[in-house]
Symmetry: C2
Subunit: 364 residues, 2 copies
Amino acid sequence: MWPALQNDCFLRACLRQSTPHTPIWLMRQAGRYLPEYNATRTKAGGSFMALATSPEHATEVTLQPLERYPLDAAILFSDILTVPDAMGLGLSFGQGEGPRFAHPVRDEAAVQALQVPDLDKLRYVFDAVTSIRRALQGRVPLIGFSGSPWTLASYMVEGAGTDDYRRIKTMLYSRPDLLHRILDVNAQAVSSYLNAQIDAGAQAVMIFDSWGGVLADGAFQRFSLDYTRRVVAGLQREKDGQRVPVIVFTKGGGPWLEEIAACGADVVGVDWTVNLGAARQRVGAQVALQGNLDPTILFAPPEAIAREGVAVLDSFGRPQRADGGWDGHIFNLGHGISQFTPPEHVSVLVEAVHAHSRRLRAPA
Amino acid sequence: MWPALQNDCFLRACLRQSTPHTPIWLMRQAGRYLPEYNATRTKAGGSFMALATSPEHATEVTLQPLERYPLDAAILFSDILTVPDAMGLGLSFGQGEGPRFAHPVRDEAAVQALQVPDLDKLRYVFDAVTSIRRALQGRVPLIGFSGSPWTLASYMVEGAGTDDYRRIKTMLYSRPDLLHRILDVNAQAVSSYLNAQIDAGAQAVMIFDSWGGVLADGAFQRFSLDYTRRVVAGLQREKDGQRVPVIVFTKGGGPWLEEIAACGADVVGVDWTVNLGAARQRVGAQVALQGNLDPTILFAPPEAIAREGVAVLDSFGRPQRADGGWDGHIFNLGHGISQFTPPEHVSVLVEAVHAHSRRLRAPA
């Protein structure tokens, strides 16, 4: 049905199998730092959602970074908040602003009215997945994704980005029953949504728990990780005879690395505050690690970018273990790439990661 | 010279000595959530700096929370950015905005022109310290403070709060020599500034590394912690025959707890992402711990506030060790109290912490 995969480095690293180099892709790799992305967006009418809801445009922009850089994976062009939009909350993106919901979920009636959305409302996403997978022609694997139940709930209750998470944390500590109901609906919806992406052609899926790190110890486990675990438990893990790796990324999740690594995912994403070598010691026998360059390093001169990329690889170390097995590392940023990144700086990073990681694998 | 101290719980806990209850104070305890604070601020002309630069007003607002609540320490009313203001950067606070510098430090010439400020420009701070210490009449100890060299540098380079720290991180990775020069000046200035606060009457000092947690592992150690360590090394640690405890608080510093605990401070502040019991296991034999309730819990109903306060105390556990010694815990929030906090909720927390921590100390 699908063309054979030519570069399986990413999938193999996710599953802690040997690879000739460390695979690299970048969160938000199809985005505003690329002039060709901005050109497509203008052509589509200028709005993010106009791009994301058109399988044709989504395919075009998803493939743009692969034309420029020898990246080892593609990621669906979409947003983490498509699911609550399909629940009827009315997602929009103002010019230069973050996402906003026209109908935030703030009272008991709104919480009780929430339902797992009809997946048909997300048909544009699945169509985009299929279209991208076809267009890739097996060059690299395609990653699908969603926000985590907690991260979706944060936006659904706050209605937009926030500095202090006052509304949702007030709900958490005052009416935990309401928040648990939202999270329960979200967990069911996210599982179904990711399974449909896998059916449509996604070869791996990633759960972005972008706001898990703002929770207190204890609250994180009950209101974020427990529901991420439910999502993971609900996923199909094999498709067309291939394992479908699951990546969980909690920004600011360093304090809870062991607990996150036990949630059932194949890969745990870590941000740049985490020492990758220490993280490998802690959980590298259970999961592959993805990360973790500070994206602002891409503003530095080329030699600094190469040096810092090498430092991340060296921190993880040779992926071959003494027992002959392999630990898994997928190179990435610790957050989405900034719109202010000079595109030629990304070339420097990808080249440095590929070259140095090949050297790292050479016999000592 | 000074009246005898009546409640030394806070100082004793900082030094890991026995106390009848767990001392509590709250970051930003004198602030906008108190109607009496807003009244004084209006009387002073409405601006934060008008309050902070008047020893009389600063004394009045510092004592206000102590009139309402049986807190175990007072903290100087001031801002973390007074030192760069004295360097000539022109600090201001817009209505409803964070701090802003009129003359940010962005090029080599500006960096080279930086100098340790004449401490006489900060006389208003030392006068406030002396005035507050007198007004306290020995009720509780007075804490002085400053921003850390890295946190000051972030504001000095960015010119204001920032989402992505793009300017300072670009400098860090492109021209580390310039940033090291800023940090060197800042470290010298902060040491002198805190020593002068101690001379003026501060009985403990706290270094706020509010933005240390945005740095990558490796960069944090070189650009934040190394300079905090220099500040600590430059401090006088005894005054009038009393040990002057030093508290270091790095928001988001959980990943580096052991390294921070080795910087020479007596107390390490931790935010709410940290499990206090685990932190005690890791560093409780070297330093006391301060923290770590999520300040948004103060929006919850009274019973939830009491429950979560008790949970923080229980996470630390009985301060008495099996060997007969004591570990130190100072109860605090993991960040400044929000301006939207209902004042009566603070009473609930203080009462719960005092009552439960007395019970915790009872013989088993």
